[in-house]
Symmetry: D3
Amino acid sequence: MTLRELWERGEPTVGTWLVTPSDLSAELLGRAGFDWICVDGQHGLVGYEGMLTLLQGLAIAGVPAFVRVPSNSPEHIARALDAGAQGVVVPMVSTREAAEQAVTAAKYPPEGTRSWGPSRNVLRVPDYSAAVANRRNVVAVMIETPEGVANMDEIMSVPGVDAIYVGPNDLALGFGREQNDPEQEAVVASLLDGCRRHGVVAGIHCDDAQTVARRRESGFHMLNLATDASLLYHGALHELAVARGAEAAPPRRTASYV
Amino acid sequence: MTLRELWERGEPTVGTWLVTPSDLSAELLGRAGFDWICVDGQHGLVGYEGMLTLLQGLAIAGVPAFVRVPSNSPEHIARALDAGAQGVVVPMVSTREAAEQAVTAAKYPPEGTRSWGPSRNVLRVPDYSAAVANRRNVVAVMIETPEGVANMDEIMSVPGVDAIYVGPNDLALGFGREQNDPEQEAVVASLLDGCRRHGVVAGIHCDDAQTVARRRESGFHMLNLATDASLLYHGALHELAVARGAEAAPPRRTASYV
Amino acid sequence: MTLRELWERGEPTVGTWLVTPSDLSAELLGRAGFDWICVDGQHGLVGYEGMLTLLQGLAIAGVPAFVRVPSNSPEHIARALDAGAQGVVVPMVSTREAAEQAVTAAKYPPEGTRSWGPSRNVLRVPDYSAAVANRRNVVAVMIETPEGVANMDEIMSVPGVDAIYVGPNDLALGFGREQNDPEQEAVVASLLDGCRRHGVVAGIHCDDAQTVARRRESGFHMLNLATDASLLYHGALHELAVARGAEAAPPRRTASYV
Amino acid sequence: MTLRELWERGEPTVGTWLVTPSDLSAELLGRAGFDWICVDGQHGLVGYEGMLTLLQGLAIAGVPAFVRVPSNSPEHIARALDAGAQGVVVPMVSTREAAEQAVTAAKYPPEGTRSWGPSRNVLRVPDYSAAVANRRNVVAVMIETPEGVANMDEIMSVPGVDAIYVGPNDLALGFGREQNDPEQEAVVASLLDGCRRHGVVAGIHCDDAQTVARRRESGFHMLNLATDASLLYHGALHELAVARGAEAAPPRRTASYV
Amino acid sequence: MTLRELWERGEPTVGTWLVTPSDLSAELLGRAGFDWICVDGQHGLVGYEGMLTLLQGLAIAGVPAFVRVPSNSPEHIARALDAGAQGVVVPMVSTREAAEQAVTAAKYPPEGTRSWGPSRNVLRVPDYSAAVANRRNVVAVMIETPEGVANMDEIMSVPGVDAIYVGPNDLALGFGREQNDPEQEAVVASLLDGCRRHGVVAGIHCDDAQTVARRRESGFHMLNLATDASLLYHGALHELAVARGAEAAPPRRTASYV
Amino acid sequence: MTLRELWERGEPTVGTWLVTPSDLSAELLGRAGFDWICVDGQHGLVGYEGMLTLLQGLAIAGVPAFVRVPSNSPEHIARALDAGAQGVVVPMVSTREAAEQAVTAAKYPPEGTRSWGPSRNVLRVPDYSAAVANRRNVVAVMIETPEGVANMDEIMSVPGVDAIYVGPNDLALGFGREQNDPEQEAVVASLLDGCRRHGVVAGIHCDDAQTVARRRESGFHMLNLATDASLLYHGALHELAVARGAEAAPPRRTASYV
Ligand SMILES: [Mg+2]
Ligand SMILES: [Mg+2]
Ligand SMILES: [Mg+2]
Ligand SMILES: [Mg+2]
Ligand SMILES: [Mg+2]
Ligand SMILES: [Mg+2]
């Protein structure tokens, strides 16, 4: 199933993020049942070569891939799509202009300014063409600053914005709040409302399974569960405690990114 | 703490195995609290370059490293030690001669035939010399064939064999038994007895935390808990089930290698 | 289709060889329509890490992969299969014992001595087990020395030898002949006869398309067409001549390996 | 021969593009007789590390190298030259300012703003100095948008612009035309005329040998023939058809990038 | 000792620069006694992946690391810090705005706009938080243009600028002078005065040990000694001359970068 | 100049060893004036992929390359030559049979058993053929054990042994002596005499320039000067001491391998 087909089903989806440049762990997680997987080019330890490696690992497993680009640059967006990503997640989008720029970079003319260069796509995508690609690729922009929250309607109404992906960590930091501050929760709720109002998919970054479950129930449809690094690290902590005979195993945490 | 110091404490130790050639996941697991970590050069997806990468990742975290060599070859043993491993795990050792060959390869003259070439060690190990290295490095040999079981006393009594590492999968396969066959358990118990008799550390590969706990109680001191790949994959399966709201989460398994 | 299924169809197959460690060119050739592709670990510029890279590139395209191991060593054979190859091509097999050793290395007990370690296979192969793997993997041994020719019946009759792969270059060199010597052709014909007699697939290395066509008509079923390097280099020579306006384009050659 | 010397001969040159990050295929194509080779950093599957790898492969063969930078950024231009490229191809140059920016980035003061850091050049280039480098390096800018066509005279007259490289795919896409639209051909002809008028080398991207031959006859001097990927893929298609005994081999195409 | 602690001691420090992407040479130099080591992402032959590799090599040795970013881009600054650098060196800072932008990129809100993503830091830095990171990381900006010299007071007084790093090569090139021009020396002296006036650490790039010694005596505290490449190359020239029996060994030079 | 041509000149040659897998440092040292450079596959931190990388770096600089193979295995010898080495250094050769095995592995039939596969050579070596290669490649075997010393005449008289390379570290270790033991010097002298008697080139590993000069005067012709790692590390120690104003700089040592 392509990312676009998944988007059109209108059901909650759960993915995870890759921050470690290993095609083998990508292949492994690609077989674990996630609906999509996102290569994190912003805070993950992956540059261009790492991104390509991870997209190849995911291609073996056949799971559709997002790339979070390091910044809202046309070059990064085009190169992620050229390399085989089906969608991009664009961080720190705070204005309508920024959202438009992201969409423009992701689309070939006449809808945008992406430059032709089929790269990994021409043999992989049936009847690949500019029109096919423009339709197929998914653009998610992150709202994760106070300015972005203030401009949510302008951002959400940009044609070609397929999803809003909420970044709770930067949001809290930008507002100077803790994650569990009730006002933080109110902001998240208002963003979810905005998405419904504008008919775009609502997405949010979650560090653990409990948070995914909670966000899914509240109506988010693009749900992230942890990262490869946190699954590995917290899995090890948990199992090691059990192995060493801890009376009560420590609560399983997959908290904040690692 | 060095591997040798760990060995001399005479207490149970828990480690894990790396099968994915990523210095970042090595660094991460190196910080998770294992007593030692073993790079699997036999069945792991790591060649020489992958092994070196993993040893570097572990060096960042400062956890002592074993390498399981691909086969009982003097070249593999020497090159693992040259690259910075503090110990080797040698697979498929079934005779006294094989055990002697492993030890000989791991020691400089006059105790063995290892060739001088300090490589990564000379700056890392205080006062590195042939004598220091001979004392410092740990040799573990695997008994995992019917022939090896038959020859256990001959193998265990070879000077320089510091530990016996039992490989239950190959053992079961070699005897044509299932893992849970009572006779398989009897063989494991006889190997543990042998280790006690000969004063060598008893080690065993365990795929999950429960097995580690059980083996530790029975007297094994070199206990392996899963692999990076199984921790990642089974961790993902478990978390994903919780995220999707499974009534009862599936039992957490870190079974056989993945 | 798996390599085994392909083998059981009993029809001519055409593959190519990879000598350049690039997952991208592997992915590209994997989409070009070959029945199988062989990673050349003997004369190709690929070590363990390169082999793994190429197997991953081929896995994206879904074409079944052979690995030619660097030498008839149990370690090389097991590690190629662990890494995801469906078959091995073993060079320089000149005696019955050598052929038996190759088969033994490729099979788990009770048929052989391969050590358990599912590595890349356990998630990829449905119901992976020792029995499944033993049945699934294909063993091709190369006859390419005068001694091998003399012992062809002993080699071809070893149970588990699925194919004989003829190496014309080493054969000619070993007999001190040119490739186009009629006696060289007689040797090839006798090997083809031997394969028919023993019911094993007859394979042969061909440097260009014309030779493949000729060998196919004579009855060979495992036909190699050139290498990635020769396809690239000779393709470039040909196109460059046309681009520069050569009166008559040079004959297209994909001769000897480059 | 350096790129500059080649440029000053005033004769047609034929090169090819590398989109696969393999030093070995770069070395191979570097020996095939091309006048120059261009590493494609925009649509090729190469980041900084891949670019460096390819420049090293080309250096073995001694063929002068261009790098197409991912975008018209001073950083990309300087880093390609630092890494050993003798020229840059700058995509999507549509205004005089953009052309000036590209030249400025490629030249040390007083002609530009490139920062000193001899990197790979100081030992390779005789008497390397700012003045030597400024004279030696070649700047080609791409005209491939309607706006660029409209501004051709402004772009072509910028001092330091050594060549115009026409990008037919983006040009057609930007004008909303097919490649074989007569108006597309008229635009190409007008760009060729412009180059003559301004005394700059006229270059154009060609996907196959026939197009190179045609463009050369019309007066282009910087002619690209296909890519490593298309030479490999279409070479394989052609040879495979012949090997399988196709009555008439399919026409050999090296079309659009793959 | 962290970079910040080193900075607060107020004593001269000597570091070196890495331009070769080898974790092993990084590890080696990391043990040679430098106070800090800087990965050169601007003119070094290192992209993102190379930078990460070098930071890992340095982490093994435990020496604190700077990264010189390729340009004054928020993305580069944040990604260097995410990857484990304790400080950044920002090239070509010529205005107050540029200096502010560099600081802003290096600090989390409320002091800056860095986006949260603990990446390699969360497990390595005790009690890692936005406040801890903002305090811990060191920002050095380069003054190396005539404009930068003219604006030195505006640049040096930006809060969060911890050091000024003088680039003599670009400075000479920008003023159109030779390195040994007395006016060049006067500019360097005025920059040193400026640093004292504003209470920021004065740093300068030195190509050899004699220059370091001279600059240290004049009052610079952040002193660079050569690069890995120049240490290797000039060390080889010197030793080779001695080995070949040169009457008088050539003067040892570690001049300009190689 | 090829290694063979260098050998036939009959004059002292000075080389160095590479133990760090960086094509860039190989390229750099390749330009420093050494007569040949040896990639150390035994104690260097290089596997197959590292060896290939280093051979490519050396090919850029055009200096002829030896590879010290990890062990006296036909596979290692053939693969080093396939990858572009012009010579092999074979460690730990202690008997006539071992020397014969090394030569046999390095020669195509009828002189040996090397298997055909031109790999990197066919385009690089003019008129490459089995006969050309057999003549061109240089075989050096190491005498570095008491047994090897005892068998020196048998080893030195094997046709095809072009040089003896003395390994002083292993020699001292094997005899249980210090490096500066007069008996160690007597053994070295007797090996030099042997080489003269048998008309083979006498080579010896030297850790610093003074030792090279001394050994050259005594008659050795294949002289090694340090390694990339020791040149880098000891160069840094020396320069750093000067930079920090040491009254008298420490004696420059490039001792034992690092
Ligand atoms: Mg964020
Ligand atoms: Mg086993
Ligand atoms: Mg052969
Ligand atoms: Mg274009
Ligand atoms: Mg500068
Ligand atoms: Mg030795």
